[in-house]
């Protein structure tokens, strides 16, 4: 599946492993929440980068204590209408101060990508068959916004200042 | 006996149209091709080509009566779709 990162097509170095699949040593792997909860101890021996994948009804609160263990958190969009992960991403960035990679996976529309980036996602996995070029263009659909969000540092947009400071 | 007909809206104008015998589309319900209930699904499938070439949107089947050579949809909703709003709208002078 095509991956967009930092506004360009990127190689995906991560492997998503199923509930019962063996963990390939030394590799960057993403596990589901259940696997993490059930076998956190085993995984602690894993010697490569570790990621966790949250379904849309699994808020980041559930892994708040373990965040230091993860290099990547994948947030799932079961369909493009399910916008919970927008909030999850912002909470991860702004409340839990997660600095690793946040990735959008699942059913993602190009017309949502601009919002995703603003909410703190830094990589987006497009569904097979979606047009990567127009998707990358869509990241720049807007140059202004009314709200501060999670993309302050490298804000590509001019944001309305509500506070005076 | 009641018949079936395929109706849709055009993509461009959104206009209500009915599928004709030649596979085209007409805004006049009397031009619509009527088929029996058994033939209905086949007729609806044949509308797929017009969806694919972007001429119409969301085709579906309606039930119609034919009396005196005139077609009349059975449901009020479809009668209104075929004829337009039942109210006078204010028109520009």
């Amino acid at each position: 599946m095509p991956l967009i990162k930092d506004g360009a097509v990127a190689e995906d170095s991560w492997t998503t492993v199923g509930e019962d699949d063996p963990i390939p040593g030394g590799k960057a792997v993403i596990v589901g929440l259940t696997r993490w909860k059930d076998s956190a101890d085993d995984l602690s021996g894993h010697n490569g980068p570790l990621g966790v994948r949250l379904k849309s009804d699994e808020p980041p609160e559930l892994i708040a204590k373990d965040l230091g263990r993860f290099d990547l958190i994948a947030l799932e969009f079961p369909n493009f209408n399910d916008g919970r992960a927008f909030s999850y991403a912002r909470l991860l960035r702004e409340r839990y101060r997660f600095t690793g990679e946040i990735r959008a996976v699942g059913d993602v529309l190009q017309d949502q990508l601009f919002f995703m980036r603003r909410c703190g996602f830094d990589s987006l996995e497009l569904k097979e068959g979606r047009n990567v070029d127009t998707a990358i263009d869509a990241l720049g659909d807007f140059t202004v916004a009314y709200q501060p969000a999670s993309d302050e540092k490298d804000a590509p947009v001019k944001v309305r200042d509500w506070a005076s400071n | 006996m009641n018949y079936r007909m395929v109706t849709a809206n055009t993509l461009k104008e959104g206009a209500v149209v009915f599928m004709t015998a030649s596979g085209g589309w007409s805004q006049n319900v009397n031009d619509g091709k009527t088929v029996t209930a058994e033939e209905a699904d086949t007729l609806l499938e044949s509308a797929a080509a017009s969806v694919a070439d972007c001429s119409i949107v969301a085709p579906y089947l309606i039930e119609v009566e034919v009396a005196g050579g005139k077609v009349r949809p059975v449901r009020l909703r479809e009668q209104i779709r075929a004829k337009g709003p039942t109210i006078q709208f204010r028109t520009s002078a």
Partner: protein
């Protein structure tokens, strides 16, 4: 007088139109399927209705300049069939645009600082308010700067653009609630606390539709500067916890109901506390002041509140006197008046106006009301700053337009949704019912005898015609292929808000107007001095009405 776009607003609207134009082009070329295009066009207010596309254009908190109204007229004339329909949410709808033309229509709108952004879809919709905002005698302060702030804050919000369901905010600052804040997802009432500071009372979880609820107060006093942080907390909790498994249970009112007001409030307060370290949304000055400055009251002439010409005309001209009594409201500034323009002439479709009428009203706004007007929740228009000495001339002009029917808040001032004549979701017609009621009660004397009464009509359970909060509510249904109409009594959207109760079995279309008349006659028979229909109903309950109503059948 009115907010004006700065560079950010202009750029955003322009970029949005460009994005939409591209979406339409992709659709026309077949690169987007209808399934993919649908949610995108809806976000720009474009529906596919029964006969054609329908475009809903936002009129933020119902405020329009004459220039904007002329543009709306131009769109009606050039891209539609010469008319538009004003809705209960202070928007305007066009019933016949072509898909290809819609990007051009949006360009036209952008020229006059308007748009159709978020007039549909699971996002925050047009922020609505009191049509008398800024000129009402009973208001604490002008609510419109806050409407504008909320509008901006929730427009293309990166986090809240895919909510479980649509979301509606209403703001008022007046004692009388002309904005129906009790039946909105969030209702904000500007209040003063004991220390004399101004802030917001916050109601959440009101709404009509299939499961009607009156909003619950979750905060008695929210300091003004906290508004955006608090809104963010409400929307965030809703976004994360609102139900997404069942379309009919996805509104925030169901979340409030299922959690209970107390538990819901705790969650909001907790989220709000947790986000307090983020000061970026603390409204402590500059931006708020910038926006507020646009709403500084105009420089009124210092006039006497007496208007001898008006009194003289009223004394000799009963038609003018009726209009003065009914459609003209006290203004906070001496020598000025608020004028309601009734879009409910006898037998017409409530809320409709032709392009010519819009142009003419725009001219009247320029001539008599400082170039501005408002759209009301009850589908009328308002000229808010009319000099009393101009009332007679204005009345004559309105009579010529058929816009001077003196029926504001009377039985023919009916709210009606488009119903089965236009709407794809409808189960029955609503406009023809409104027209028939209006004809039945056309006699003004009789209307005045009946007094204040609100009839609201919806063409299906979605309740866009707010039938639950009509003193008499009428809901159109389909039963065995026939239209039938269910009647509810005792609803209100004012400060005494309540959801109406179903009186009994539904009526056939040909009987529904008789049924309304029976209800009204029952009231006339049993009312006590000074009681409105609603008061009598609340005093005696359903039974006397029910007996009369069903005895006849």
């Amino acid at each position: 007088m009115m907010y004006q776009y700065d560079e950010i607003d202009k750029t955003l609207v322009k970029e949005r139109v460009d994005q939409y134009r591209d979406q339409v082009a992709r659709r026309m070329r077949g690169e987007l399927s209808e399934e993919e295009f649908r949610p995108l066009r809806l976000r720009n207010g474009l529906y596919m209705q029964l006969h054609a596309y329908m475009l809903r254009v936002a009129i933020p908190y119902g405020l329009l300049s004459s220039t904007q109204l002329r543009k709306l007229a131009l769109i009606a004339r050039e891209y539609d069939r010469g008319y538009g329909h004003f809705t209960t949410r202070q928007n305007i709808q066009y019933n016949w645009p072509n898909l290809e033309d819609t990007p051009d229509i949006l360009d036209h709108l952008a020229e006059v600082e308007m748009n159709a952004i978020q007039t549909s879809g699971n996002v925050n919709r047009n922020v609505t308010s009191d049509p008398y905002a800024g000129v009402a005698r009973d208001e604490i302060e002008d609510p419109r700067p806050y409407c504008e702030i909320v509008r901006q804050f929730l427009t293309l919000h990166p986090e809240f653009s895919f909510l479980p369901r649509k979301f509606k905010v209403a703001v008022t600052a007046a004692e009388t609630d002309r904005a129906a804040i009790n039946v909105h997802d969030i209702g904000l009432r500007i209040v003063k606390n004991d220390a004399g500071e101004v802030g917001f009372k916050v109601l959440v979880g009101g709404g009509l539709g299939r499961t009607p609820f009156i909003g619950k107060v979750i905060r008695d006093f929210l300091p003004k500067e906290e508004l955006l942080r608090y809104l963010q907390a409400i929307l965030r909790v809703y976004n994360m916890e609102g139900r997404r498994d069942n379309l009919f249970k996805a509104r925030i009112k169901i979340l409030v109901h299922e959690l209970g007001t107390e538990r819901f409030t705790e969650k909001i307060e907790a989220e709000y506390e947790a986000s307090k370290s983020d000061t970026r949304l603390l409204m402590d000055g500059i931006e708020e002041d910038r926006i507020r400055a646009f709403f500084t009251p105009p420089t009124y002439e210092s006039l006497s509140d007496d208007a001898p010409d008006v009194d003289a005309e009223a004394a000799g001209n009963p038609a003018f006197a009726d209009w003065l009594n009914r459609n003209v409201v006290a203004h906070k500034q001496p020598g000025y008046a608020i004028v309601n323009i009734s879009l409910k002439p006898m037998g017409e479709a409530p809320g409709d106006a032709t392009a010519e009428q819009m142009d003419a009203v725009a001219d009247l706004a320029d001539q008599y009301s400082l170039g501005h007007l408002r759209v009301t929740h009850r589908q009328n228009l308002v000229l808010a700053d009319v000099r009393k000495q101009d009332l007679v001339a204005l009345w004559k002009a309105l009579v010529a337009l058929d816009f001077a029917t003196p029926n504001i808040e009377r039985i023919t001032d009916i709210i009606s949704c488009p119903g089965l004549d236009y709407c794809n979701l409808a189960t029955a017609r609503s406009i023809p019912v409104a027209q028939r009621i209006s004809q039945r009660f056309a006699d003004m004397k009789r209307q005045y005898d009946i007094g204040e009464i609100r009839i609201n009509i919806s063409g299906c359970i979605n309740a866009c015609g707010h039938h639950h909060v009509g003193h008499i509510g009428i809901l159109g249904l389909e039963k065995n292929g026939e239209e039938s109409y269910q009647i509810t009594l005792g609803g209100s959207s004012d400060v005494d808000a309540d959801i109406g109760k179903r009186i009994g079995p539904a009526f056939a279309s040909e009987d529904v107007v008789d049924a309304v008349e029976t209800l009204v006659n029952t009231y006339l028979d049993i009312r006590q001095d000074g009681e409105r229909f609603l008061d009598t109903y609340r005093r005696v309950g359903q039974d006397p009405f029910k007996e009369r109503l069903y005895a006849a059948y």
